[in-house]
C-alpha cells in the first residue's frame, strides 16, 4: 500500500546505526547508557567489596544517638545529650545564619565600593580599585585566617577588662569587644512591652502607606512630598511615646564581667564575626566589580537624557540608572550569594560550628561514619544551591527585557 510520497523503505542495515542520522543518536545514547551503567556497576561493586572487606556497612543509625559534644553557638536548644541529627541541624542553622549575615554586608560593601570606584574622586576610586584587586586575588581561606588572627591577636581578652586599671574598657558601658567575641546588651521584655512592639509594627505599616501615598501623589499631580524626615518621624515618634507611656517596659541586660567571661547580654562569637567579616569583605570585592559592570553597561545616553529632563544627580541614579543596572547586576549577585553559602564551609578553619564542622567534622570524627556524613553534607549544600538557582531563574524570567 505504499504511495509515491513515502521515502524509499530500504531494508534496515546494521551500518545505518552509525551512518544514518535517524538512528545514530540512538546508538550514541545506547553506548553512553552502557558506559554509565558500567561505571556505576564498577564503582558500586568496588564500594561493596571494600566495605565487606573492612566489615563495615552503611547505616544512618548514628543520627539518632546522642552526639555527646557541646557546641558553643546555637540558635536552638542543644545539649551534649541531643542527637547527632540535632547537632547537624544546629550546624545547618549556623551555616544559614552566617551566610545570610555575610550576604547582607557583602552587598553593602560591594555596592559602596562599586559606586565609589566610578566616582570622580581620584583618591577614593584608586583606593577602591586597590581594595577590589587585593581581595579578589588572594584566596578566601587566607583572608579568613588573617582576619581571625587579627581578631584573636589585636582584640583584648576578657582579662584585660579586669582589675583597677583595666587596659580595655567597654564602649558606653554596654558593648564589649573581646577576642572571644562581641558582647552586646540583650533586651528584657517587661510587661506591656508587647504594646510597644505592636506600635512599632504599626508604624512600619504607616511608613509604607505614607510612601505609597506620596508616590501616587507625585504621579497623579506632580506634587513632591518630602520622603525622608516624615518617614523617620512616623517610624520613631509613636513607638517612643508608647514606650514612655507604658513606663519603659523594655530594659537592657548589660553584659558584665563575671568569672572567666562576660555574663549576660548577647554574645556574638569571635569565629562568627571573623567568618562573617572575611566572607563579606572578600565577596564584597567581587560584588563591587559586578556593580561597576552593571552601571557601566547602562549607556551614557540614558544618564544624559535624564539630565536633559532636569533630574538631579541622585534621582538619575535612583530612577534611571539603578533600575536598569539591576537587571545586569542581580544574576551575578545571586551567584555570589551562592558562593558565600558554599565558602561558609571554610568555617572549619576558625572553629565556627557550621554544618561542615558539626556533621562533617565532630560527628564524623566521633562516629567514623565518613561516607554517610559526607553524603548528607553534600545533599544539604545541593538543596540550598538548587533552591537558590530556582529562585534566580524565576527572577530572571520576570525581569527579562520584553521586546519583540
Amino acid at each position: 500500500m505504499s504511495t509515491i510520497t513515502d521515502p524509499p523503505q530500504g531494508a534496515f542495515r546494521l551500518s545505518m546505526l552509525l551512518n544514518d542520522t535517524r538512528y545514530r543518536s540512538y546508538t550514541f545514547q545506547f553506548i553512553a547508557l552502557i558506559l554509565l551503567i558500567a561505571a556505576f556497576a564498577f564503582l558500586g561493586s568496588n564500594l561493596i567489596s571494600n566495605l565487606t572487606a573492612a566489615g563495615l556497612n552503611i547505616s544512618y543509625q548514628f543520627l539518632g544517638t546522642p552526639a555527646g559534644y557541646d557546641i558553643n553557638q546555637t540558635l536552638i536548644d542543644y545539649s551534649s545529650q541531643s542527637t547527632n541529627a540535632r547537632a547537624a541541624f544546629v550546624g545547618i542553622l549556623n551555616t544559614l545564619l552566617v551566610a545570610f549575615l555575610a550576604c547582607v554586608t557583602a552587598t553593602i560593601f560591594g555596592v559602596i565600593a562599586g559606586v565609589l570606584r566610578l566616582s570622580n574622586n581620584w583618591l577614593v576610586s584608586k583606593l577602591m580599585s586597590f581594595y577590589v584587586e587585593i581581595f579578589r586575588n588572594i584566596p578566601v581561606l587566607i583572608w579568613i585566617i588573617i582576619i581571625f588572627t587579627i581578631m584573636i591577636a589585636v582584640m583584648p581578652g576578657p582579662r584585660a577588662f579586669r582589675g583597677d586599671e583595666p587596659s580595655a574598657s567597654m564602649i558606653l558601658n554596654a558593648v564589649a569587644f573581646t577576642n572571644r567575641g562581641v558582647y552586646i546588651p540583650a533586651p528584657i521584655w517587661g510587661p506591656g512591652s508587647m504594646v510597644v512592639v505592636a506600635t512599632f509594627i504599626l508604624s512600619i505599616v504607616g511608613v509604607i502607606g505614607y510612601r505609597r501615598y506620596a508616590t501616587k501623589l507625585l504621579y497623579d499631580t506632580g506634587k513632591l512630598l518630602p520622603m525622608g524626615w516624615p518617614s523617620l518621624a512616623i517610624l520613631i515618634v509613636p513607638t517612643l511615646l508608647m514606650f514612655l507611656i507604658m513606663g519603659r517596659p523594655i530594659g537592657l541586660d548589660v553584659p558584665e564581667l563575671k568569672g572567666f567571661n562576660f555574663a549576660g547580654g548577647i554574645k556574638v562569637g569571635g569565629p562568627l564575626i571573623a567568618l562573617w567579616f572575611a566572607l563579606s569583605i572578600y565577596t564584597g570585592a567581587f560584588i563591587a566589580e559586578n556593580v561597576r559592570a552593571g552601571i557601566q553597561a547602562i549607556s551614557k545616553g540614558q544618564t544624559e537624557a535624564a539630565g536633559a529632563l532636569g533630574l538631579r544627580q541622585g534621582r538619575i541614579m535612583n530612577l534611571v540608572v539603578l533600575p536598569q543596572a539591576l537587571r545586569v547586576i542581580i544574576p551575578p549577585l545571586i551567584s555570589q550569594y551562592l558562593n558565600i553559602t558554599k565558602n561558609s564551609s571554610l568555617a572549619i578553619a576558625v572553629g565556627y560550628a557550621d554544618v561542615t564542622a558539626t556533621l562533617g567534622g565532630i560527628t564524623l570524627n566521633q562516629t567514623g561514619r565518613a561516607i554517610e556524613c559526607i553524603l548528607l553534607l553534600m545533599l544539604f549544600y545541593l538543596t540550598i544551591s538548587l533552591s537558590i538557582s530556582a529562585i534566580m531563574n524565576v527572577y530572571n524570567n520576570s525581569v527579562k527585557l520584553k521586546e519583540r
Binding site: 552509525l18 543518536s25 550514541f28 545514547q29 553512553a32 547508557l33 554509565l36 564503582l43 568496588n46 564500594l47 567489596s49 571494600n50 566495605l51 572487606a53 565609589l116 566616582s119 570622580n120 574622586n121 581620584w122 583618591l123 577614593v124 583606593l127 584587586e133 587585593i134 579578589r136 586575588n137 588572594i138 584566596p139 578566601v140 581561606l141 587566607i142 585566617i145 588573617i146 588572627t149 591577636a153 558554599k342 565558602n343 564551609s345 571554610l346 572549619i348 578553619a349 561542615t356 562533617g360 564524623l364 565518613a370 561516607i371 559526607i374 553534607l377 553534600m378 549544600y381 545541593l382 540550598i384 544551591s385 538548587l386 538557582s389
Partner: protein, 432 residues
C-alpha cells in the same frame, strides 16, 4: 572720521599678546586636586577620610617592613634583636624558604628539578598565551607534561616516554581514521594509546625505579607553593577539554547525554569544593578496586578537575549560547557534520568569547588550591598552619608568614588577570 579714530588712539598693538598663564586656582596640581579630590563638600570629606585611612595603614606597615629582621634562627632571637621596636621577623621566610616553596619532605638535593620544571613551564606556556610567537614552539608545550612529570617525580624514564609514545601513536591513529568520521578517529586514537600503555606497562622492568637516573620522589613528598602551582596547572589544563565536552554535551539534543551532563554540572556546582576534597580524602578510596591504592595527590587532582570542569563548562555554554544562530545554520548549510562544524566554526568563536571567563575560573581555582591544607596536605598554607607555626622556634609568627602567602598568591593571580585583560583587548575584533 576714519583718520580721527586712527589718530585718537595713541598706541596700536602690532602683535598678539602672549597668553598669560591661567590663574593659579585653575591650573596645575591645585586644579587637579580641586577637580579630582575636592569637587564637592561630600567628596572633600571622602578624600580626607580616605587619606587618613591610607595614612593609618602606611603608618602601621612601613615601620614594620623597614625594621624587619632577617637572619635570626628563632622568634625569641628575633625579638631580642628588635628590642621592643615594632618590626617583622622576616627571618622565618629565609630560614624556612625551602619548606614554604617545596614542602618539608621533598629531598633537598633535588630542589633543582621542580625549579627547572617551573622555568620550562614559562617556555611551554608562552606559545599558548601569546599567539604571535612562532607556532613551532608548541612542540615544547606538547612535550612539557612529560618532561615536567619526569623532573618532579623522577623514577624511571620509561614511564614518561611510554606515556608520550601512547599519545603519539594515538594521534597518528586519529589522523588516519578521522577522515572517515571524527568519532572513529577519536575513539580509535584513545584505544590505540591505551593498547600502547598497557603493552608498554608490562615491558617496563619491575626494578626500573631503583636503577633510575633520577631518584623517584613519591607524590606524598610534594608540598609548599610547588603543590599549589602543580594542582593549579594540572587541574586547569585537564579541566578545559573536559569542560568543553560537558558544555557540548549539555547542548546536545540527545536527551540521555544532555541529562548526564546537566546532572553532573549542577551537582558539582552545588556543593562546596571542601566537601569534594573530603570525598577525595575519606570516601574515594572506597570506590577504587580492592587492594589497589591511589595516592592522595591523584585523588585530589581528580576531584578538583571535576570541580573546575563543571564551572568551565558553564562558561563555555555561555559562549556557545552567545553565538548567533546563523553561525550554526551556516555551518549546517555548508554540509559540515557535527564534529566538523564544532571544530571549524562554532568552538573557535565560542572559546574566544569564553576566554575571560575561563581565566577567571582558572584564577579562582588556583586560589582554591589552598583548601587542600584542610585535608592534611602540606601546601603553602598547610605548611604555615602546620609544621612551621607549630615548631618551637617560630611559634607565633603569623603576619610575616600569612603576608608572604598572600603576596605570592596576589602576584600570580593579579598577573593572570592582567594578562586576561590584555588578551581581551587583543581579541576584540568587533567594532564598537
Amino acid at each position: 572720521m576714519s583718520d580721527t579714530s586712527a589718530n585718537s588712539v595713541a598706541f596700536v598693538r602690532t602683535e598678539q599678546v602672549p597668553p598669560s598663564p591661567p590663574p593659579f586656582q585653575t591650573s596645575g596640581p591645585v586644579k587637579w586636586a580641586k577637580d579630582n579630590l575636592f569637587s564637592t563638600p561630600f567628596y572633600s570629606v571622602l578624600t580626607i577620610v580616605a587619606a587618613y585611612f591610607i595614612y593609618l595603614i602606611l603608618a602601621g606597615i612601613l615601620p614594620w617592613l623597614a625594621n624587619g629582621v632577617w637572619g635570626t634562627t628563632s622568634l625569641a632571637e628575633c625579638r631580642e634583636v628588635l628590642d621592643g621596636v615594632s618590626g617583622g621577623c622576616f627571618s622565618v621566610l629565609s630560614e624556612r624558604w625551602n619548606q614554604l616553596i617545596f614542602g618539608f619532605t621533598y629531598p633537598s638535593e633535588l630542589y633543582w628539578r621542580p625549579a627547572l620544571a617551573f622555568l620550562i613551564m614559562f617556555a611551554a606556556a608562552a606559545p599558548v598565551l601569546f599567539f604571535k610567537l612562532p607556532r613551532k614552539l608548541l612542540i615544547i608545550t606538547a612535550l612539557f607534561p612529560f618532561v615536567a612529570y619526569y623532573l618532579i617525580w623522577g623514577g624511571t624514564i620509561f614511564t614518561p616516554i611510554l606515556a608520550l609514545l601512547g599519545v603519539v601513536v594515538g594521534y597518528f591513529v586519529y589522523r588516519r581514521l578521522v577522515a572517515g568520521s571524527f568519532a572513529a578517529g577519536f575513539f580509535g586514537g584513545v584505544a590505540a594509546a591505551f593498547v600502547v600503555w598497557i603493552i608498554g606497562g608490562m615491558l617496563i622492568p619491575e626494578n626500573a625505579n631503583e636503577t633510575a637516573m633520577l631518584q623517584a620522589v613519591p607524590s606524598r613528598d610534594l608540598g609548599g607553593f610547588m603543590l599549589n602551582m602543580m594542582l593549579g596547572v594540572v587541574c586547569v589544563s585537564l579541566s578545559i577539554p573536559l569542560g568543553i565536552a560537558l558544555a557540548l554535551g549539555r547542548q546536545s539534543n540527545m536527551p540521555l547525554i544532555k541529562w548526564i551532563c546537566v546532572i553532573f554540572i549542577e551537582f558539582i556546582r552545588g556543593v562546596p569544593l571542601i566537601t569534594l576534597l573530603f570525598v577525595a580524602n575519606v570516601m574515594l578510596a572506597y570506590f577504587f578496586p580492592p587492594g589497589t591504592s591511589t595516592d592522595l595527590f591523584l585523588r585530589v587532582v581528580i576531584m578538583i578537575t571535576m570541580f573546575s570542569a563543571a564551572y568551565i563548562a558553564e562558561v563555555i555554554r555561555g559562549g556557545l549560547a552567545a553565538l548567533p544562530r546563523g553561525q550554526y545554520e551556516a555551518a549546517d548549510s555548508l554540509g559540515l557534520d557535527y564534529p566538523q562544524a564544532m571544530r571549524l566554526i562554532i568552538l573557535p568563536q565560542a572559546l574566544k568569547i569564553s576566554i575571560p571567563g575561563i581565566v577567571n575560573i582558572a584564577v579562582g581555582l588556583f586560589k582554591d588550591t589552598t583548601l587542600v591544607s584542610v585535608i592534611s596536605m602540606f601546601d603553602l598554607l598547610g605548611m604555615i598552619r602546620g609544621p612551621i607555626l607549630a615548631s618551637t622556634e617560630w611559634n607565633g609568627v603569623y603576619w610575616e608568614l600569612l603576608g608572604f602567602a598572600a603576596l605570592l598568591f596576589f602576584v600570580v593571580c593579579y598577573g593572570i588577570s592582567q594578562y586576561s585583560q590584555w588578551l581581551e583587548r587583543q581579541l576584540a575584533t568587533d567594532h564598537r
